[in-house]
């Protein structure tokens, strides 16, 4: 019943974290072998870091779902538009993979995410049965990583920003908000890893619900504690804030996953 990260997993996470601090380009990801990750728990390890660094691009779509570094997709209704752009572009309809042709661009709440309408091309073949759940879990891990980064930045800001002659982090109302965010993230992450091990529909959906809720709580708290500076587009924080908002509904909304979870538990 061992349920902790292996030394290799910890080292992989650390290497990614260090490298992504320097650069969030895809070259960094490829150099560290993110495209070669096989097991779902390892994928979760990687996506926690991708989330923490707010890496742009169709990371879930290419690394977790298609497992081809230069490809992206749409998977309606849960991923209704093609996410970003890549050499190979697909759409999944009834578990069949079609080539897709990009049409009009649509703008996402997250300016680092470019969405496109598309037209179906020829069918390429089936998509493997776990692909959707890999996408959901990678997205969930990314959300937890984003939440962790938001909490860390907010904590740092609360230590440094002074009002009424004191660091705002010494006010109990601020402390309690941050403590609640920490608890939510600490308890969402095990659900994501647990689902990566079992890959059952109920566990995967529970992971997405919990990760989305915790990350969203982190996002709202981060904005509140930063005050007006957090509301500005120039300030770096917006990269994390808006990506959370986009990913909360990507790969299945909360209500879709709740339906699915209830069906699995009571079906």
């Amino acid at each position: 019943m061992k349920f902790t990260l292996s030394d290799e997993q910890r080292q992989f996470a650390q290497a990614l974290r260090d490298a992504l601090r320097q650069s969030t380009s895809w070259d960094t990801l490829l150099a560290l072998g993110v495209h070669e990750v096989e097991s779902v728990p390892d994928l979760v390890v990687a996506f926690l870091e991708l989330g923490r660094a707010a890496v742009p691009g169709p990371v879930v779509e290419s690394f977790a779902v298609l497992r081809e570094p230069s490809s992206t997709l749409a998977w309606p209704p849960h991923v209704p538009y093609i996410v970003d752009d890549a050499d190979h572009v697909y759409a999944i309809v009834h578990d069949t993979r079609y080539r897709a042709i990009l049409e009009d661009a649509r703008s996402s709440v997250d300016p680092a995410r470019q969405l496109h309408e598309y037209r179906l091309g020829e069918a390429v073949g089936p998509i493997d049965g776990q692909a959707f759940d890999r996408g959901v879990l990678a997205c969930s891990a990314q959300l937890v990583g984003l939440g962790r980064a938001l909490l860390a930045r907010t904590r740092d800001y609360a230590l440094q920003r002074k009002q009424f002659g004191k660091a705002i982090g010494s006010f109990q109302a601020v402390k309690h908000h941050l403590a609640d965010v920490h608890v939510a993230l600490e308890l969402a992450e095990p659900l994501v890893f647990g689902a990566a091990v079992t890959m059952t529909a109920s566990d995967v959906s529970a992971a997405k619900i919990a990760a989305g809720t915790a990350a969203y709580q982190a996002m709202r708290t981060a904005l509140q504690v930063h005050g007006a500076i957090g509301y500005t587009a120039e300030f770096e924080l917006s990269r994390w804030l808006l990506k959370v908002r986009a990913l909360v509904t990507a790969w299945g909304t909360e209500s879709f996953h709740r339906e699915r979870l209830m069906a699995a538990l009571c079906g």
């Binding site: 019943m1 061992k2 349920f3 902790t4 990260l5 292996s6 997993q9 728990p41 909490l151 904590r155 609360a158 230590l159 004191k166 660091a167 982090g169 010494s170 109990q172 601020v174 402390k175 309690h176 941050l178 403590a179 609640d180 920490h182 608890v183 600490e186 308890l187 969402a188 095990p190 659900l191 890893f193 647990g194 990566a196 091990v197 079992t198 566990d203 529970a206 619900i209 919990a210 209500s255 709740r258 979870l261 209830m262 538990l265 009571c266």
Partner: protein, 368 residues
């Protein structure tokens, strides 16, 4: 990263034993009769070496690993077995005895605790010292071969019927708040002790006040060094907030019962209530996985993270069940009992406000 059940044999043994032995129809442990019925159940557990599975055999346990202990707890609660009347001793005092007690104390006290010959009460809170535990005023004064304890403790769970108490007393009146405190073990029936039961919300005497008037405690019942009581006590607090008292098994069992109740009476079109059922189920699962994932880490300020989580989860589980029961929820029954107990969760073991302070200051490093 592995969730395989490697403890199958142990699990099956425990499950089989419980299915033969779990009693039904015990009275509340907060009544005189019920207390003794629960003591009998503890003795039955002890005969099978199941009252304290993780302790070494010489103290009455079976040397179970932490994982086996979690398995035991899962099976225990899934079997619908009763709450543990001996839990203060087994889960709060015993870890402290293992960490700070002498061999003589361990050999003398632990086997009696495992057999429920001594049922212990935690005597920490005082009328003027709740969240601010270091404000305690009860004192211990040196005398020949021991100490004389005087003062007043309050809210002491199960003290109305228990045999012995453990608590902090001020032994150096001049010292700073956190110093000069000593951790004593004392007899609740010793001359000079008066126990006054206090009925709880449900009307039963779940806790009590303890008045001490020059109660003699021999030197061998001082736990740790005189004057070092605060440090000793803090190791107990970690256990109370952490997993030993609030094992995930209890919440998983409650979540399974809640799901069964939903299947029985839930209205599928009531998505608001359905969501609460799902949240409670997810919470129990998250807590279990969190515990499994942190077994190799020591419990420190992290215990405050889980305390916040389990206390809120317990309430959510029971509030949701009552909502599902509708108007019948006001009738006495196991969900209502569980609910009344859960209501105290955010208060005891350090209130949730205090735990949020601990998380913010010691885990996140915010200023005091």
């Amino acid at each position: 990263m592995d969730l395989d059940d490697t403890d199958l044999e142990f699990r099956h043994e425990i499950r089989a034993w419980l299915s033969e032995n779990v009693p039904t129809g015990l009275s509340s442990m907060d009544t005189a009769d019920g207390f003794e019925q629960h003591r009998e159940w503890e003795r039955t557990l002890a005969k099978a070496r199941l009252s304290a599975v993780s302790w070494p055999a010489e103290h009455g346990g079976r040397g179970a690993s932490l994982t086996e202990w979690l398995v035991f707890e899962e099976e225990y609660w899934a079997a619908g077995a009763p709450g543990r009347v001996a839990q203060n001793g087994i889960f709060l005092l015993a870890p402290t005895l293992y960490a700070h007690g002498t061999e003589e104390q361990q050999a003398r006290l632990l086997p009696r605790m495992a057999r429920a010959d001594d049922i212990w009460a935690q005597a920490w809170s005082e009328p003027e010292a709740g969240s601010d535990l270091a404000a305690i005023r009860s004192r211990g004064v040196r005398t020949d071969g021991g100490w004389l304890l005087s003062g007043q403790k309050t809210w002491s769970s199960r003290a109305a019927f228990a045999d012995r108490g453990f608590g902090l007393f001020r032994t150096e009146p001049e010292a700073e708040r956190h110093r000069g405190l000593t951790y004593f073990l004392f007899d609740l029936r010793a001359p000079g002790v008066t126990v006054r039961p206090i009925p709880q919300l449900d009307g039963e005497a779940g806790f009590a006040e303890i008045f001490l008037d020059e109660v003699f405690v021999p030197d061998h019942d001082v736990l740790g060094e005189p004057g070092a009581g605060w440090r000793v006590a803090m190791s107990t607090a970690g256990n109370e907030r952490g997993l030993s008292l609030r094992s995930p098994g209890r919440f998983c069992a409650a979540a399974d019962r809640l799901l069964a109740l939903w299947r029985e009476v839930g209205d599928p079109s009531d998505t608001a209530l359905r969501n609460k059922v799902l949240d409670a189920w997810m919470g129990a699962r998250a807590y279990r996985l969190h515990v499994l994932g942190s077994l190799d880490r020591p419990v420190g300020a992290e215990a405050s993270v889980t305390k916040l989580f389990w206390s809120q989860l317990d309430l959510a589980l029971h509030e949701t069940a009552l909502e599902l029961l509708g108007p019948a929820a006001e009738l006495a029954g196991p969900w209502l009992d569980g609910y009344l107990f859960a209501l105290a969760g955010p208060i005891y073991a350090g209130t949730n406000e205090i735990q949020r302070n601990v998380v913010a200051e010691r885990v996140l490093g915010l200023p005091r």
